[in-house]
């Protein structure tokens, strides 16, 4: 539940069911009333229609918060994180990083580090497609220690070099222009 839109959807659906909230935030909502089984199912199906999932066990909620924080850091922040990701997650979620890392792997089947790096590479792909920044600028923007580090990670995750990926995108575009 990263975006404002997601929060709005949750608020609207709760209002439709006649439930009142004290707070709708990143991955959680506090409802004033005691929810009946029928209402629970109503919320679940209403959210599902909007592409959202109702998570009501604490572990899943925490994992969802980890994912949301990572997505926020990678896709919605203009500035690189001023602190390490592990510290950021730990301080935001008030748990030791080892606890969060264990829980994430147990529930998601992948490590936080893999999830984080995969998202960073998705962001790199997006920026390459926009064609507004050089690879060096992208490396700086996404807090890579060097272009070489970015390129190696990109190749590991996608199987392609960033320049080849960009070339493929340009070819696709020029083919479309020929139509």
């Amino acid at each position: 539940m990263v975006s404002v839109r997601c929060k709005m959807v949750v608020k609207e659906e709760l209002a439709k069911i006649g439930l009142h909230y004290t707070m709708v935030e990143l991955g959680e909502a506090e409802i004033l009333e005691t929810i009946s089984t029928v209402q629970h199912d109503q919320i679940k199906s209403a959210l599902l229609k909007s592409g959202l999932e109702l998570l009501d066990d604490k572990k899943s909620v925490l994992v969802q918060k980890i994912k949301s924080l990572i997505v926020e850091v990678v896709h919605h922040s203009e500035e690189p994180l001023a602190r390490k990701l592990s510290e950021h997650l730990s301080q935001k979620l008030n748990h030791d990083y080892t606890y969060l890392a264990n829980l994430f792997s147990e529930v998601q089947g992948i490590t936080i580090e893999k999830f984080f790096i995969s998202h960073k590479i998705e962001r790199v792909k997006e920026l390459l497609v926009y064609n507004e920044l050089t690879l060096t600028e992208i490396a700086y923007k996404l807090h890579y220690s060097s272009v070489a580090h970015l390129s190696t990670q990109f190749k590991k995750v996608t199987g392609l070099t960033p320049s080849y990926f960009k070339e493929l995108g340009n070819k696709k575009r020029s083919m479309l222009e020929d139509l």
């Binding site: 990701l85 030791d96 580090e113 220690s145």
Partner: protein, 132 residues
């Protein structure tokens, strides 16, 4: 990485050392990997000023002789070694142990992954962060 870095891995398990070094080389082929099998050898290496000071120390906990925790405490007592980030690299998944070691000066606590792929992502993450 901006310059050629040296990484010291202290781990008594030869297979784990191999797995780690393969992952580190995949992250950056210019990395110099130094491996030692126990805490005593780690301190001998680190205290010898003829050796380059590593940019990172990855330290296993359960080793014969000097344990990882004792080795960490010795490293943190030495003003020359103190700034080098020590990453605990262990099979332990205990939160209490992670909190205790960080309070003793460890920069990060990594539970050893089982697959080579996950080792790559962990090493890539750690080497990509600024720990100082």
């Amino acid at each position: 990485m901006n310059k050629n870095i040296t990484v010291l891995l202290v781990d008594d398990d030869a297979d784990d050392r191999k797995l780690f070094f393969e992952a580190a080389m995949e992250v950056d082929a210019t990395i110099t990997c130094v491996g030692v099998a126990n805490g005593r050898d780690a301190l001998l290496y680190l205290k010898n000023e003829a050796n380059p000071l590593p940019e990172f120390i990855f330290l296993d906990l359960r080793m014969p002789g000097l344990t990882g925790q004792e080795c960490l405490q010795e490293i943190k007592k030495d003003s020359r070694l103190f700034p080098v980030p020590v990453i605990i690299y262990t099979t332990s998944r205990e939160v209490g142990e992670s909190i205790r070691l960080k309070s003793l000066g460890a920069a990060h606590f990594m539970s050893k992954p089982t697959s080579p792929d996950d080792v790559y992502y962990m090493v890539s993450y750690v080497l990509g962060e600024k720990w100082n």
